[in-house]
Symmetry: C2
Subunit: 221 residues, 2 copies
């Protein structure tokens, strides 16, 4: 008599499926192969289990995307809203948000249209931001449009992190676009990719935050 349960040959006991392991594998697939590569079949094969075994844990790709969203959004650092003034906190949160999304650009499109219902860590992040803004004097009706406007800027900026330095290189067209060509070389100069992305991000973020605060009737530091 043996207490060892039956299992298929070559499948070690440590390979127990869990939300955590499935989410890890989904994120690996997303960042290496993009969004379309994330299918239940590919995910099962990556986890070395049968699709049926995967379906025992997750009813659909939607469930898995919710876990992925929760993991990614939960890794954004909003903690400054608990200790700093709102303006310092918005800066730190937006920078962390952009950095996280720039590592998972294939997730920007789905996350930007995905309801957050059931995504506990995502909701916690939004509650921390909303509470911090309210404490800083932002009227409640201004909070969500402010967050949405900031997120739009953050998502676009996450792509810009990956833009090459020659993105605005006019080539043979330079003579027909003299103003833009001069403006591009004034901006790029001797800067590196990261510096260029950061200059536009810092400028846009400060501009946007200041403009939003003025509209909400909140004083900036």
């Amino acid at each position: 008599m043996t207490t060892k349960p039956f299992r298929a040959a070559g499948r070690p006991t440590t390979r127990v499926l869990s939300r955590r392991r499935i989410t890890d594998a989904a994120l690996r697939i997303l960042s290496h192969d993009g969004f379309d590569a994330l299918t239940m079949t590919h995910l099962a094969s990556n986890l070395r289990v049968t699709p049926a075994a995967l379906y025992n844990h997750a009813a659909s790709k939607r469930d898995i995307l919710l876990w992925v969203q929760d993991r990614v959004m939960g890794s954004i650092d909003a903690s400054a809203f608990e200790t700093e003034d709102w303006h310092t906190a918005v800066r730190a949160w937006a920078r962390s948000y952009r950095d996280v999304m720039s590592r998972y650009t294939p997730l920007i499109a789905p996350i930007s249209v995905m309801p957050i219902t059931g995504s506990t860590d995502t909701l916690r992040m939004y509650e921390t931001v909303a509470t911090g803004l309210q404490r800083g004097g932002w009227p409640v009706p201004t909070i969500v449009p402010t967050i949405v406007a900031l997120e739009s800027f953050i998502y676009g900026s996450a792509y810009d992190v990956g833009a090459p330095l020659d993105i605005f290189e006019a080539g043979d067209g330079a003579t027909e676009a003299p103003v833009f060509t001069a403006a591009a070389s004034a901006h790029y100069g001797a800067r590196s990719d990261e510096q260029v992305a950061d200059v536009a991000f810092d400028l846009g973020l400060e501009a946007l935050v200041q403009g939003l605060a003025q509209r909400a009737g909140v004083a900036t530091a």
Copy 2:
């Protein structure tokens, strides 16, 4: 004797490949099936030609993406920069840019990191914007970071057009996120999807433009 050239059965004479027809087909594939579906094989089959025939016109997928970029960016209306003050023109251009990109969201990721070299209509659009800003008093070194910051906001806002009204529905989590829940219902109220996206876009755009102008030392109207 006949002057009719040999051709495969069922392939009509009107089906001559051209940059225009290839770009049309690529855009159809992109908007229906997404970015990964745009392969030379799929494109050839959509055009009912052999891959070899397609390669006679375009050396690679990169060539086709450049044509697609040119078509899409060329359809953005920047003409207000030629007749209106810069502030009115920025508003009209940004709105047109967002509307165009919201119809082709699978193109946002590739276009945001794709060099514009050889993309004549794209370059013409940027030259119109840069010239309009310069005429409005924007110092040359501020023009490109200003455009990049606006584009980041526009790309993110293009996704938001497709966001469902229940995107911030907390569900069972509402009791743990009271401030965010109250803020979301204050914002959404009885608005439709389009109205909600427009409210956040208009607010963010005005805020961003005002903040950028202040930083560049340019007066807003």
